[in-house]
Symmetry: C2
Subunit: 296 residues, 2 copies
């Protein structure tokens, strides 16, 4: 049973507070706002340590979630709050796509790896997706600016899990001026070479595979070269999606070697793709982004 | 997305493994078994640190969940795994009641605080409840013996949240030979004096209020006197159920004073009744049970 109450951090003209819960020495907030990028309402969660609640600028990390998830999964199950409370770090969890609600019908697909919950954080170029599925613009422009306007954010790092790990690698290297640090947990490393990503990109971009490559994380890293002092990637060695070829982890290693981008890639014996793995490694990611923010 | 695989800890004659996930240096398991106490299938989760997986006897803590919950809520949201991994502690989460499933129709009530998900961990004496709602016998006899037979458990402490906090206090003081330690988070402290508990007990015990008193945690503590070196209770000061009188926390203080039972009762400013509060204090509870197990 969640007990929520209203708490106004500041004058939020564009965002509506849904809930506030005290958690460690900070507060877990949820917000809703009308997005111009997706032409739908969007929700996100943000953990604000007491330093931020007191108005002091703090480093932030944005976490992009994986297929089928929304902001709830990571907010409830990843247990980032304790470490963020200790360090004084802000943690932001956007939704994974626009969604049908309030009578608005957003395009979808029966497959869990295409459509709602499966945006891949790109700007779709084909209909029916192009109308609402503009998650790259949403993340790196609209939400990014909104967060900086409404919360005392010093710098932003980007991370994510699975499809969201691909989004973090892709957006981190496409927009290095926006982010001070990049990491990923169990990421899809090359969407254009995984069955999940191929299904999604054929919908979002059509048959022109040069467009797929421009939205492929490993290809982007290879193309743009080193952007960060180091990036951290954790992967469960018993992850069945790794064995299935959905994640294409060696492609990331090759790309980083080509780009001369320092990469710490750790395989964890017996660990799988679940939030039990995410909670096992999340503290290391928060500390990675914290250290990079201090360097910046 | 959860990725589960089978892993056999030992020869489990009476319990069937549902899932195993690696988490920190240990494994989160789920089991299902046929209960003679409730005459239904029952499920529970158990976190086994590597020491236990290697067959070494470890202290355990059993966590009784609150109204509307099952084992999933605490297993996903409380974040006990990291501390249990560090200390080498087993964490057991039973369900909150028998449930209708597999075509079996178990009694229920429209109110969320009576019936399925709301057993109060007592043995009901009135029909239709008495047939299946024997959760006291399930916890302190059947599940207790089954756990000791199937897992390398050294000693068992008991804790819980809200209704489950009442269960932990009640069963801990009714059966002190079974448990080495007691704690509670945001507990209902006196079921017979809270509106939730009165509704449940009038169903489970009928109108004889002497039976309610025998199943009241604070009354039981006052009656049996000191049983533990100390008990730990954490309470959110902004918990709306505290303000509503459902928790009756001062009754626990009075009972412990009468019983000369040392009590550490901590109120936490701004914290509510949610799992965000539970995760904030759970490490202290695991450490409490760990210390008590070392003393025993």
């Amino acid at each position: 049973m969640n007990n929520t109450y209203k708490h106004s951090l500041s004058t939020h003209s564009k965002i509506e507070q849904i809930s506030v819960n005290r958690c460690f020495d900070g507060e877990q907030h949820y917000y809703r706002h009308e997005s111009t990028a997706t032409k739908t309402p969007m929700t996100f969660s943000i953990y604000l340590p007491d330093e931020a609640l007191a108005g002091r600028r703090c480093p932030a990390v944005m976490y992009l979630s994986g297929l089928t998830c929304n902001a709830d999964n990571v907010t409830h199950k990843a247990h980032f709050q304790q470490k963020c409370s200790e360090l004084g770090m802000i943690f932001i969890a956007p939704d994974t796509s626009p969604r049908s609600r309030d009578g608005q019908d957003v395009p979808n697909d029966e497959r869990y790896f295409v459509g709602q919950g499966a945006s891949y954080y790109v700007d779709a170029m084909q209909q029916p997706w192009a109308e609402n599925f503009n998650m790259q613009s949403y993340i790196v422009d609209e939400l990014y600016d909104l967060l900086r306007a409404e919360f005392p954010i010093d710098s932003i790092g980007i991370t994510g899990h699975s499809m969201g790990g691909h989004g973090a690698l892709l957006l981190g290297f496409k927009f290095p001026s926006k982010f001070v640090s990049v990491s990923a947990l169990s990421p899809v490393c090359a969407a254009s070479e995984s069955a999940w990503g191929q299904a999604a990109y054929s919908e979002y971009f059509g048959d022109d595979k040069s467009l797929w490559k421009q939205a492929d994380a490993s290809q982007t890293i290879a193309d743009v070269g080193q952007q960060y002092p180091s990036i951290l990637v954790d992967q469960g060695a018993a992850d069945n999606f790794l064995a299935e070829g959905q994640l294409q982890t060696p492609k990331l290693q090759e790309a980083c070697e080509k780009a001369q981008q320092p990469l710490t890639l750790r395989y964890h014996a017996s660990h799988d793709h679940s939030y039990y793995f995410i909670q096992t490694v999340i503290n290391d990611h928060i500390e990675h982004h914290w250290r990079m923010a201090q360097m910046g």
